[in-house]
Symmetry: C2
Subunit: 206 residues, 2 copies
DNA sequence: GTCAATCTGTGATAGAATGCACAAACGATT
DNA sequence: AATCGTTTGTGCATTCTATCACAGATTGAC
């Protein structure tokens, strides 16, 4: 076990965690790799093999205790604690992110939001006062921000990224439609809905 | 060429298209698989092989004509035309999607938005009047909507999906944190920022 | 015209991910 | 205690993916 687990496996763990949280909420005490797989559209063998990278969590003949496996996955993914998040950019997207109710319950707390527009700086968004971009590095450090969500235009994204990294952030959720250049120790995940749309339109031919 | 191209290859084409659009805007007339790869963090060989599934678009010794390759990729992905989109759910997320300026220029036009809340129905969002959920199937058909973006709570997502499919939609961008069950001919792409965040937190273990 | 430098497209190869299938283990039932 | 149905964890085979490396084509310099 635990000998540099493939990134593609890590990417599936949050899906397992989400399904388990759902089962737990529904009061299901025990599940199986088959049930999980059916719910996620993933083969049961794959789920068992993925989990085996980290240990043995089930019982033969029975399956998995839902709360126990959820706890273990949360521990593995390091989401058995809270994380501090900054939103960069207070346009439509930034405001939606700052106001999104789905982050808090899953342990991600938006503590601060930045923008460069003088008309927006100082206004309130979801209980947060918009801070000026110039104060970003100090603010990020002072508040011990660990994750940044970048919601600025493509043209500004790289320079904003450089400052976010200077502020000590090591994980970036990037909504800008460009590839960000970051040091090796910084992780980036990209979200661009248009990319997903174009992926689907390929199959809509005819 | 064209003998059932792997889906993973299709998924990269929008990235190539995005990079080419950027180069074209910057007035770069010619590029190479090396330059594209450097910009995207993908090996040049991979780009050449991906493109080779669809034909020969470059010239040896020279590279690729940016406008020509962009056109060809747009044609392959079927984004050399416009698409009609519906947003389902007029909460924070639905409103952000309906107001997002990044869809139109890339050929995706939000024509209608639905919600079930009587207080929201009839209000205006980004120039659109919110329609009631009951009228969904007829409205989707009447407007020939091709793509739906689902931005409703998890509990409502599956029943909404069933109606969207009944309305003739064959592609769904799903923001709800559950796996949607759809007929084979319907395509689904999921977006859940929390999944991406949890993917990164794994690596933030110190 | 010749040569060096460059770049594409692709066959071959190495590598990674997935699915299969079974031994071992467990609980329920008789 | 014996049996049956179920489920895990895993070695193995298969399939899928990515990379290597080179022939052939093109350009530009001299």
């Amino acid at each position: 076990m635990s000998d540099s687990v493939p990134d593609i496996v890590i990417g599936r763990l949050p899906l397992y965690l989400r399904a388990l949280a759902r089962l737990e909420q529904d009061g299901v005490p025990i599940t199986s790799s088959h049930e999980l797989g059916a719910q996620l559209g993933i083969s049961s063998a794959q789920i068992r093999k993925d989990l085996s990278h980290f240990g043995e969590f089930g019982k033969q003949g029975t399956g998995y205790q839902v709360p126990y496996l959820r706890e273990q996955l949360a521990r593995i993914l390091c989401v058995d604690r809270d994380w501090t998040v900054a939103v960069i950019g207070a346009g439509h997207l930034g405001r939606a992110l700052a106001g999104y109710k789905g982050f808090g319950p899953r342990g991600f707390h938006v503590d601060v939001i930045f923008d460069n527009d003088p008309d927006i700086i100082g206004t309130q968004i979801g209980g947060l006062v918009v801070k000026p971009g110039e104060s970003m590095v100090e603010e990020l450090r002072a508040r011990r921000i660990e994750i940044a969500m970048i919601a600025v235009p493509a043209a500004a994204a790289q320079s904003v990224t450089d400052r976010v990294v200077a502020g000590g952030v090591r994980a970036i959720l990037n909504y800008a439609p460009i590839r960000l250049v970051v040091p090796d120790y910084v992780h980036v995940q990209d979200i661009d809905p248009v990319i997903h749309l174009q992926h689907m339109t390929y199959y809509l031919r005819t």
